[in-house]
Amino acid sequence: MNPVLDKHRVKTVVRPEMRFQEQVYLIEVWKGLLITSRHFFVNLWRHCMKALGQDAAAASVTTQYPEDPQVTAHRSRTRHRLLKREDGTPRCVACMLCETVCPAKCIYIKAEESPDVMIEKRAKTFKIDLGMCVFCGYCVEACPEDAIRMDTQYIQFPGSTRADLIWDMPELMGDRPKIPSLTPSKDPLSRP
């Protein structure tokens, strides 16, 4: 016996035997097709109702983004912002707590010596890969300096490569707009 398994209660799952109806196969295929068809006609009905201005029947109706604006929850977490002190320097002291707590491991910080002896440490580079981010907001909660916050409802950060989704420090601080590359690279999966 396996000593590791012995310590835990093992529940054995018995697979049900196939009945005659299932063994015949064709009957079950027809039942499956009926389900698919039902969904098709129900959705078709709802799409038609929406086209006629009847929004009451909420269902899996495709939102025509970006022509129709996406409706997000009032307090949804979206893109990050790095905050500044009153004198314009970034508040971040590169303590790496957000980088540590991040479950998606999408924050990349490098620290350096700050010229101000009372601040002592600051971020040399601060990058967030929004393509990896799960928008959990842990970085905001972990920050001891209130240096990072998240917007709500702002969801427009398009990119044609993965590199386009990596935001650098000036972009996160709002000093420079994030401009995606217009021509897709030969290898859109590559990261810088």
Binding site: V93, A94, C95, M96, L97, E99, T100, Y108, K110, A111, E112, E113, V117, M118, I119, E120, K121, P144, E145
Partner: protein
């Protein structure tokens, strides 16, 4: 050995030698008493007042670092009185401590943080402003001082007084105005200065080299050895491989000393401490190569390299004889490497007079009576135990040579014109570009290997990171070439080589690859020969 006495510690009857400090006796049975100033290597001035415990019969709580064990004593380190005294003490330590943990390098390995969680957890009753002192004071080659964070435990002062005996540090002023500083006109520039960073329980003394590079909790720790000199200090290799951007891709972040009562106790020298950079230096060889027809180096895969090198070497030896071939080995090779080299040498039939192992001029340096040794190679004793003559130097080589196999050291200029030269090692030297064959070897932090220091103590290094690129351990190169030439070398791992070595070599009889943490004494080389 002092008389053993029985006493009661936290309700447990324990035995300890009479006169042993309570804090030490508690540590031996796994009870940690919080402490800052006490350090087993630096005495017990009793200035931090944190290690208080309750002793039955004593009117007030006693300091466990200044109370000796006696028969029938009853000590409690976890009673409400003791706990309250410890928390009150800690509150005084934190009264002026700046709590700049986010920017402090010590965070994550800081005793203030640990003890506050373990023994403090009080609500501070200090309402006054914190006293500010000088931050970021450059006091020496390797160390940065932050006077605010200092809790005046005086460990570093005692280190410079008692261990390095250079007396650079002192505590100046009185009361809450007292500050740690260097004496006027002095700098903390002794060869052991890095140790004050290790013994500092808070972030007052930080390592300039490590400063702000990696957070302590990102590091992986591997017990290993410093191979910077014949002392072979026990160290811990701290590696940062999961977040490479912090150290610009360098895998090894720092070396820290590891306690070994027989070799280095708690210390290492700065030379060894900062030698970690060689593991990721730009001179590291990632792949093996050979000189092509046009004189340029051509990269060769390891298996291919061993096969081609073996057949070339075999042809040369059958044409010109083994008397003209020399092995210039280095004391940086581990016992396993030397054992494999010995088998290859005997297979080739190279005469003993053509084998050089004495330290090269660049492998000699300073020596003192603390730790450092003049021979900057770790394994000369091991080489002697394996039957190599470490006294024969390069200029006693019998000419004329047609070829040489040089390992991890410079070779004389005369070797440049030889028709067949092999250079093997982790970091390229000047001679590397001249050699016909270059074999990339693993660094010490990348292999499991044993080294015997100048006292004859055999210790084992462990693999902290994977071998860089296509490099492989030296014994694997010797073994692969030996196999390519039809020899028998079945070993696939260092443990297997060690097993064969302990069976074949009298000095290693009875030793196992799983050596104890402090190592084991090698059977003396002379004894083994007898």
């Amino acid at each position: 050995m002092a008389k053993l006495v029985k006493f009661n510690l936290d309700g447990r009857e324990i035995e300890a030698p009479e006169g042993q400090l309570v804090i030490e006796a508690a540590k031996d049975v796994g009870i940690e008493v919080p402490h800052y100033c006490y350090h087993p290597g630096l005495g017990n001035p009793g200035v931090c007042r944190l290690c208080v415990c309750e002793v039955e019969g004593a009117p007030k709580p006693q300091m466990s670092c200044r109370t000796a064990v006696r028969e029938g004593m009853k000590v409690r380190t976890d009673s409400p009185v003791a706990r309250r005294a410890q928390a009150a003490s800690l509150e005084f330590h934190l009264a002026n401590h700046p709590l700049d943990c986010p920017v402090c390098d010590q965070a994550g390995e800081c005793h203030l943080q640990d003890y506050y969680q373990g023994y403090g957890l009080y609500k501070s009753s200090v309402r006054e402003d914190k006293r500010h002192k000088q931050k970021r004071k450059d006091i020496g080659r390797a160390v940065m001082l932050d006077q605010e964070r200092c809790i005046q435990c005086t460990r570093c002062v005692r280190f410079t007084d008692e261990v390095s005996k250079t007396h650079e540090l002192g505590v100046f002023g009185r009361g809450d105005r007292s500050v740690l500083d260097v004496y006027p006109g002095m700098r903390l520039d002794n060869p052991y200065s890095g140790n004050v960073v290790d013994i500092c329980p808070v972030g007052a003394l930080t390592d300039k080299d490590f400063r702000f590079s990696v957070r302590a909790w990102y590091l992986d720790k591997t017990p290993s050895l410093c191979t910077g000199c014949a002392r072979v200090c026990s160290i811990e290799v701290h590696t940062n491989t999961r977040r490479p951007w912090h150290t610009d891709g360098r895998r090894v972040a720092r070396y820290k000393p590891r306690y070994n009562t027989e070799v280095n106790r708690w210390w290492i020298c700065d030379e060894g401490r900062y030698s970690y950079k060689s593991a990721d230096s730009p001179t590291r060889l990632k792949a093996s190569s050979t000189l092509g027809a046009d004189g340029h180096a051509v990269q060769v895969a390891p298996a291919d390299a061993a096969a081609r090198l073996g057949s070339e070497l075999g042809r040369h030896i059958s044409e010109r004889g083994a008397d003209g071939f020399a092995f210039i080995l280095s004391g940086t090779l581990s016992c396993e490497d030397l054992f494999a080299a010995k088998q290859l040498i005997s297979r080739l039939g190279v005469p003993a007079s053509n084998i050089v192992l004495a330290p090269a001029p660049e492998q000699l340096g300073e020596q003192d009576d603390i730790l450092r040794r003049a021979e900057k190679v770790p394994n000369l004793y091991g080489a002697t135990a394996l039957g190599f003559d470490v006294s024969r130097s390069l200029d006693r080589l019998k000419a004329p040579l047609w070829g040489a196999w040089v390992v991890d050291r410079e070779a004389p200029a005369a070797f440049k014109g030889l028709p067949f030269t092999v250079w093997q090692g982790p970091n390229a030297v000047r001679f590397t570009s001249e050699a016909r064959w270059v074999l990339a070897a693993s660094h010490t932090v990348e292999e499991k290997a044993t080294y015997a220091n100048f006292q004859g103590r055999l210790q084992r290094a462990n693999r902290a990171v994977e071998s860089l690129g296509e490099s492989q351990p030296d014994w694997a190169w010797f073994g692969a070439v030996l196999r390519a030439m039809g020899g028998d070398f079945p070993h696939q791992c260092a443990g297997s080589v060690f097993k064969a070595m302990s069976a074949a070599e009298p000095a290693f009889h009875g030793l196992s690859f799983d050596l104890p943490a402090e190592g084991a004494p090698l059977v003396a080389a002379e004894e083994a020969v007898r």
